[in-house]
Amino acid sequence: MDGVLGIEEYLVVASILFCIGLLGVILRRNVLLILMCLELMLNAVNLALVAFARYSGNMDGVILTFFAITVAAAEVAIGLAILVALYRRRKSIFLQDLNLLGR
């Protein structure tokens, strides 16, 4: 590897992205933004996987990345479907309006 970047840099960026996504999921009130933050978490994983694959010379990680991308797309599809079903009933996509449970 004659590049300037070592694997640590990639991992740090991946961890930061993952944490931003996690914080977003926890703090955001808008379900659409929560979906986007979930995507961010999965993409952070992809970055880490590709970095590991590059530095270990073993291609399994890259293959897993493709699966992760596909799964992420499917997950968003399901998430949006649930959100649409919910919006039809409640006319809102904000978490503070979703309070029917637990009674």
Partner: protein, 497 residues
């Protein structure tokens, strides 16, 4: 690996896939003019036939003594793997029978197809030793279950529960795959079978393992990843609640046990995950059991009970011996049988009463449905751990396997220090909590058995098809048999590790 072997090994799964498409195809091709109820019944029959064929195929492979190992642990179909699949498909069959009675929307065939799809995922999750396949299988299970939980589109609660399940599940699967990436980075392989000959235990490995456990902990609903459970169990269609509580737990525990059994030997590994797992077990038992005490809705009560059961399960994993692993699997299977049965009965009865499952809705069920109520009694008493039912034997094996690992010492300080101390404390807490759990189980049973109304005894089972009753009684019989005669099954599980 040639394709013929692959075909032969995955034949049961292929049958399920065919059944899935047949259910959809028959519904869309031939049944469009029929009523939703009729379409649901046909889709259910097609799915059941597929599952029965798959079970026959598994039995055949079992009798032939087939052992398939495909692509270095991608699929590991030895006797245990076949048994795991058979258990998952058997549970699916029961759930499909319950689901056939009443479809929450007009999309009857999709309902059954999604249940079959998640069953496929569970089958693969229970038999794989590869992190990639585990991830894909886990997602197949999760994505189908998100859709199923939100399936009752007429009810806003169902969609809300679906969203909650989705949000928690999405985070959990992100953690899972993040953990997988770290484990891959640390070991250079996605195959957990290679861990044992790998000696470098880095921080990367430990972190990755903890993240993967977070992802699985969500599926098993252990504290602190349990928040979705009560809402999902309460608001999802009842057969789906049964399915979330049974199938996905069984499959995840199978994989969890495989993961922990594959850890590189040595004290470092043990200490690495021991404390977090033990803490999760303690809080699951506390929050699950104490939370269940103040529930007035039967499904929520069972949800908290399932959180508590997640805590008990971990004790077997913490014992870290083959006996402990076998005990965990035995317990989760028994728990799943009882839970599918209990939710099945709840679904059958609450459909008729138009209630949403509050305890008082069930008052006097004993008079109207003596047979079903008796089965429900068996399921609940088994979960509470009353001998001679299977739940008691399961708990006995779990606690015994943990005590077996305690190094006996007559010095109290030695007995209660470090790992020993944790195990002793866990078992004592579990015993106390089992006693407490008796209270809420009996409370639920009281609702069934006692009623104010003194109307004459009437048997009101009409409209409940004999097939479904047969299914409930078969589950009850299994719970009884595994309690009275657990030896062979337990010996079989112990031989696997």
């Amino acid at each position: 690996m040639d394709y013929l072997t692959l075909l032969e090994a995955t034949l049961p799964d292929l049958i399920v896939v065919v059944a899935l498409f047949a259910a959809l195809g028959v519904d869309y091709g031939l049944c469009q003019g029929k009523s939703p109820h009729e379409r649901g019944r046909i889709a259910g029959e097609v799915s059941s036939i597929g599952l029965l064929l798959a079970l026959c195929c598994l039995a055949f492979q079992w009798m032939q003594g087939s052992v398939f190992e495909i692509a270095e642990g991608q699929l590991n179909l030895d006797a245990t793997g076949l048994a795991a699949k058979a258990i998952v498909y058997g549970l699916t069959l029961a759930v499909i029978r319950f689901a056939t009675r009443h479809c929450p929307t007009t999309h009857a065939s999709e309902y059954h197809a999604l249940i079959l799809l998640s069953a496929l995922g569970m089958g693969f999750l229970a038999t794989t030793e590869n992190l990639l396949l585990a991830f894909v299988a886990l997602e197949l299970v999760s994505l189908s279950l998100y859709a199923l939980v939100a399936f009752k589109t007429s009810s806003p609660q169902s969609a809300e529960a679906g969203l909650k399940y989705f949000a928690f599940g999405g985070v959990a699967s992100a953690f899972f795959v993040f953990g997988v990436s770290y484990l891959y980075g640390a070991t250079g392989s996605l195959d957990i079978g290679t861990w044992s000959d790998w000696s470098d235990r880095s921080t990367l490995f430990a972190l990755g393992l903890v993240f993967v456990l977070v992802g699985l902990g969500f599926k098993v609903a252990v504290v602190p990843f349990h928040l979705w459970a009560p809402d999902v169990y309460q608001s999802a269609p009842t057969p789906v609640a049964a399915w979330v509580a049974s199938g996905s737990k069984v499959a995840s525990v199978f994989f969890l046990v495989k993961l922990i059994a594959a850890l590189p030997p040595g004290p470092e590994t043990a200490t690495m995950i021991f404390a977090p797992l033990a803490t999760a077990a303690i809080f699951s038992m506390l929050i699950g059991n104490l939370g269940a005490l103040r529930q007035s809705n039967l499904k929520r009560l069972l949800a908290y009970a399932s959180i508590a059961n997640g805590g008990y399960l971990l004790i077997g994993l913490l014992a870290g011996s083959p006996d402990g692993y076998a005990a965990s699997i035995f317990y989760v299977v028994v728990y799943a049988l009882a839970n599918v049965g209990a939710f099945g009965v709840i679904g059958l009865l609450s459909d008729r009463m138009k209630g949403d499952g509050r305890l008082e809705d069930f008052s006097g069920s004993w008079r109207r449905h003596p047979g079903l109520s008796f089965a429900f009694l068996l399921f609940l008493l088994s979960s509470a751990g009353i001998p001679p039912l299977a739940g008691f034997v399961g708990k006995y094996y779990l606690f015994y396997s943990a005590f077996d690992q305690v190094e006996m010492s007559y010095v109290l300080g030695e007995l209660l220090s470090g790992r020993n101390g944790w195990l002793v404390f866990l078992v004592c807490l579990a015993l106390v909590m089992s006693v407490i759990s008796l209270y809420y189980y009996v409370l639920a049973l009281k609702a069934f058995l006692v009623s104010e109304d003194e109307s004459p005894h009437l048997d009101d089972d009409e409209g409940i098809s004999p097939g479904i009753k047969l299914c409930v009684f078969a589950l009850a019989l299994l719970v009884l048999i595994l309690g009275v005669y657990p030896g062979p099954f337990m010996a079989f599980l112990q031989a696997a590790f």
